[in-house]
């Protein structure tokens, strides 16, 4: 046993004991944050106070941001894949014109929206889609020429459907909402958006 080894071990041990109170302080802060959030929000319009309650994925992504431990990430993504409800008729394509309207609409689910107002897709808030619409956001990647670049086949249609239904099945802490999973868009609406991305006649591919 050499001196270096002893110092090394002593250091590891003392660091480990230091790490415990630090971790405890971190989780105390996490707990206090949740307590404050649960107390300090209230119902307004359709946005009920219980919206601040997190599911496991939301909680993990808040804590680890985009650095989820690998095992947790794999498990969460597998669970999200499991929860995708694929179209019963096995068809993924709807009407791209209806899809374009949905993509344009940024409405939905805020406390200033009415329960009867249908939610839009918010797609242009974050993505470039058709070349004609220049007021697009850039939080997500450009989807211009999506079909032309990626192919129009059934595999790609299924992928697009899955992405829109539940983006977290592909990337646990993605910034994109889970439109199908959270009941924001219906199966038919998601098909219309798939068509917007993958119909050769859609402005996305023109």
């Amino acid at each position: 046993m050499n001196a270096k080894w002893i110092i090394g071990t002593a250091l590891t041990v003392s660091l480990a004991t230091l790490a415990i109170p630090a971790q405890a302080a971190e989780s105390a802060l996490d707990a206090k944050t949740t307590e404050i959030i649960k107390r300090d929000f209230r119902d307004k319009g359709i946005a009920r106070a219980d919206r601040v309650n997190q599911d496991e994925l939301q909680s993990a992504c808040s804590k680890y941001l985009d650095k989820l431990p690998a095992k947790l990430k794999t498990r969460l993504e597998a669970e999200q894949v499991q929860s995708i409800k694929w179209p019963a008729d096995g068809k993924y394509m709807g009407d791209w014109k209806a899809g374009e309207k949905l993509a344009q609409s940024g409405r939905g689910m805020t406390w200033s929206d009415k329960a009867e107002d249908p939610a839009g897709g918010n797609c242009y808030n974050c993505h470039q889609l058709s070349a004609r619409e220049i007021a697009f956001g850039t939080i997500g990647p450009s989807l211009l020429n999506f079909g032309k670049k990626r192919g129009y086949g059934e595999e790609m249609q299924r992928y697009a459907y899955g992405r829109i239904y539940n983006a977290k099945a592909y990337q646990a802490c993605a910034n994109m909402p889970r439109f199908g999973h959270m009941g924001i868009l219906s199966e038919a609406q998601i098909k219309d958006l798939v068509a917007l991305l993958l119909d050769p006649e859609s402005p996305v591919n023109k």
Binding site: I36, D40, A49, R51, R178
Partner: protein, 272 residues
């Protein structure tokens, strides 16, 4: 600035934010356009009117106790307004709380003037029909820090804790869209539609964003407080409503204000 200039400006900006001009001008972002108009009105800002209204309220006896707010301690001693906003939020011994500007104004309005905090909090923001007193007071007090460097402290353990919790609230994902502040404000050089989004993890962005509120919003024709800004972002986040001047909003403000430390306060600002 005189009223005809204000009217001209409002018209210009209303036009600029309408879809027609967006299409005609190509992909000039809203912030570029705002910068152009800001230059054109460098002699003033419609928020000046709200500042004056706030000053009047500060100096006029009111509330059941018919007192002015001139003895209000905003952290730099009773009655000191100059530079106070640049050091808020901070810990206050008398309330044993970390408070932002609006929550501190609530304290003063209830202790000095005898007004009910609940009644004031019931109309925290201005509407077209009715200006909000607490919002005007906030514009006045903030304006008295113009040009002063942001120096918000986290020395007191409670201040440090508020900052830490604020940071967690910033990253707290929930609701039907899984959004957190960080969904929209933790990446550089991104925008929603044509609205550029500050990245609060980058000091320069945080400074520019934080130091420009309260601000006159041309699209609404109203001067808006920082509490309003948070409230509207929580709306866009699809969250329920944060209670006015609640601990959650104060802690979040603490995180953002500390992120802006070192920059000269530049508000009241002007926004689309």
């Amino acid at each position: 600035m005189n009223t005809s200039n204000v009217k001209k400006l409002i018209l210009l900006l209303a036009l600029a934010t309408s879809g027609a001009v967006v299409a005609a001008e190509g992909d000039v972002s809203d912030s570029d356009r705002i910068a152009q108009y800001r230059e054109m009105i460098s002699d003033g800002n419609p928020a000046d009117f709200d500042e004056m209204r706030g000053e009047e309220l500060w100096k006029t006896a009111g509330g059941p106790k018919l007192a002015t707010l001139e003895k209000c301690d905003l952290g730099k001693g009773a009655g000191v307004v100059k530079g106070a906003y640049a050091e808020l939020p901070r810990y206050f011994k008398d309330t044993n709380k970390v408070q932002d500007l609006e929550s501190r104004l609530l304290t003063c309005m209830s202790t000095l003037q005898g007004s009910s905090a609940e009644a004031i909090a019931a109309q925290p923001f201005s509407t077209e029909k009715k200006p909000s007193d607490i919002s005007s007071l906030a514009t006045y007090v903030a304006g008295q820090s113009k040009g002063i460097k942001m120096a918000v402290s986290v020395k007191h353990p409670r201040e440090k804790e508020a900052f830490e919790i604020g940071k967690r609230i910033f990253n707290y994902r929930a609701g039907p869209y899984d959004f957190a502040c960080s969904t929209c404000h933790a990446t550089s050089n991104v925008r929603i539609r044509m609205q550029d989004l500050p990245n609060f993890n980058i000091r320069k962005d945080a400074q520019a964003a934080y130091t420009s509120w309260p601000a006159y919003r041309v699209s609404q024709g109203l001067t808006r407080s920082f509490q309003w800004r948070l409230n509207d972002c929580f709306r866009q986040q699809r969250f329920p409503e944060p209670k006015f001047a609640s601990e959650a909003t104060i802690d979040l403000t603490m995180f953002l204000a500390v992120s802006a430390n070192g920059a000269a306060f530049a508000g009241p600002g002007l926004k689309r």
